[in-house]
């Protein structure tokens, strides 16, 4: 071994590090015959002792205790602390799941409860759509109805989809009115003069709701319930543009 090679291993030798036995013995032999390398090894060994003394002196040094207290306080103050055990974690999940299910159930109940009043009248109207809408008819609509050729005047058989107004039917007051109106049953218009049905349809006019003695039904050939003979019966009278009554229909 020469001095250059010795230089590469002198630190390991002085520090007592593991090295090949053959290399170690060669290095020691070289330091025996070379004064400079022996001195170099001695310096390294003294340095190792000095460093070991420094390390042993500082070995007992520790951070002040207040640092641990600060860290633990910071740890407790963390907002993102995850639950310690799985058991606590799963119980929180269950609680959250139950709360979510309750919330959904309450929402469904409230939603259905709030929609119930609006659904009932709508269904009633749908069922009664073919029935007459006498009171709500404007004059112009009546005139249009009369002018339609080939259309049966029997109002109960005519579907009037335009008259079903979902928005207004959602309100209870309107729904009551609608029920009342759609429950009426009317006869065909019966001419009061000798005018033909065609002229009646062309002329148009105005309808006025009146009440007549039930006996008036007999005048038009309609059956009369004798048990309710003294009661009144409703009727719609169609007036022409000249103010003369043209036709009548009875409403129940």
């Amino acid at each position: 071994m020469n001095c250059q090679r010795f230089e590469t291993v002198v630190s390991e030798l002085a520090r007592g590090q593991m090295m090949a036995a053959e290399q170690r013995s060669e290095a020691l032999e070289h330091s025996d015959v070379c004064d400079d390398c022996a001195a170099r090894l001695s310096d390294e060994q003294m340095l190792t002792l000095g460093l070991q003394s420094l390390a042993s002196e500082m070995e007992s040094l520790e951070a002040p205790r207040e640092i641990e207290a600060k860290l633990l306080a910071a740890f407790r103050a963390r907002e993102v602390v995850v639950p310690i055990t799985r058991r606590r974690s799963s119980s929180r999940y269950w609680l959250a799941a139950i709360a979510a299910m309750l919330l959904i159930a309450i929402s469904v109940v409230v939603f259905r409860w709030s929609n119930r009043p609006a659904d009932a009248p709508r269904q009633a109207v749908k069922q009664d759509q073919p029935q007459p809408q006498i009171n709500d008819k404007s004059n112009e609509q009546l005139a249009q109805d009369v002018e339609k050729p080939g259309v049966d005047d029997s109002l109960p058989q005519r579907p009037k989809p335009r008259r079903v107004h979902p928005v207004s039917l959602r309100r209870p007051d309107n729904a009551a009115v609608a029920n009342h109106v759609t429950k009426e049953i009317a006869t065909d218009f019966i001419p009061l003069s000798y005018m033909s049905a065609a002229s009646l349809q062309q002329e148009g006019g105005q309808i006025i709701r009146v009440q007549l003695p039930r006996s008036a039904l007999a005048n038009f050939g309609l059956p009369v319930n004798m048990d309710r003979y003294n009661e009144k019966v409703k009727a719609d009278v169609l007036y022409g543009v000249d103010g003369m009554a043209r036709a009548i229909r009875f409403v129940q």
Binding site: D36, C37, L54, M58, F75
Partner: protein, 214 residues
């Protein structure tokens, strides 16, 4: 209650660092306490030996464990131990702190180190006349005066007794680099610890610094 706490902590003292870290990240305060007590000494001493300042060492110790609480999930057990991970974090914080306080000297040219390295071979024993206390103080100052890249290796390998492999993990370099830096760091230390030669001895020292070729 205190007895129960101590008993639980005693139980946890048998748990390895990786498990303690996992428990701590799951919110276990005792795990943090046990892990801190187990590792704070090496972190504190490393910061103190690197900086020479108690206040910096205390701050760095605190910052390292705060980092562990905050970012501990990035630790990868397959890449090293928790102790090495903590020392690596401490190294970053020490460097940052020293740079901020202009206490970290810029990395010098290696040629200067070579000049110092060549002055090592001398008959003058740098340590033999010093008392133990003086020796320790001199060594401490010499270590603090080393360039950072050598100081880190000397502190870890010599003062912290960390293996070459772990030192390589902490520094993020190859084991061969650790070896060479330690070798050069020790040479620099010897050069710094050697007493200034007298004028008459200067010539002799110069002559004796020549390598032998035996």
């Amino acid at each position: 209650m205190t007895t129960g706490l101590n008993r639980r902590m005693k139980l946890k003292s048998d748990v390895n660092d990786n498990e303690l870290l996992r428990l701590m990240l799951a919110g276990d305060e005792e795990a943090l306490s046990v892990l801190y007590r187990r590792r704070q000494g090496s972190v504190y001493r490393f910061a103190l030996q690197m900086s020479g300042s108690r206040s910096i060492a205390e701050d760095v110790t605190q910052e390292v464990f705060l980092f562990l609480m905050r970012e501990g999930h990035i630790f990868d057990a397959s890449k090293g131990t928790v102790g090495a991970f903590l020392l690596g974090v401490a190294r970053v914080y020490v460097r940052r702190r020293l740079r901020a306080e202009h206490r970290l000297e810029p990395l010098g040219d290696d040629s200067d180190d070579d000049d110092l390295f060549m002055q090592v071979t001398t008959d003058v024993c740098p340590l033999e006349d010093l008392t133990r206390a003086e020796t320790i103080d001199s060594v401490r100052k010499a270590v603090l005066s080393l360039p950072p890249k050598y100081r880190e290796v000397v502190v870890l390998c010599e003062l912290q007794d960390v293996s070459y492999g772990e030192t390589a993990e902490i520094l993020g370099c190859a084991i061969g680099t650790v070896r060479s830096r330690l070798h050069r760091g020790r040479a620099l230390l010897l050069a710094k610890l050697r007493p200034a030669p007298d004028v008459e001895e200067t010539g002799a020292a110069t002559v004796k610094s020549a390598r032998c070729f035996a």
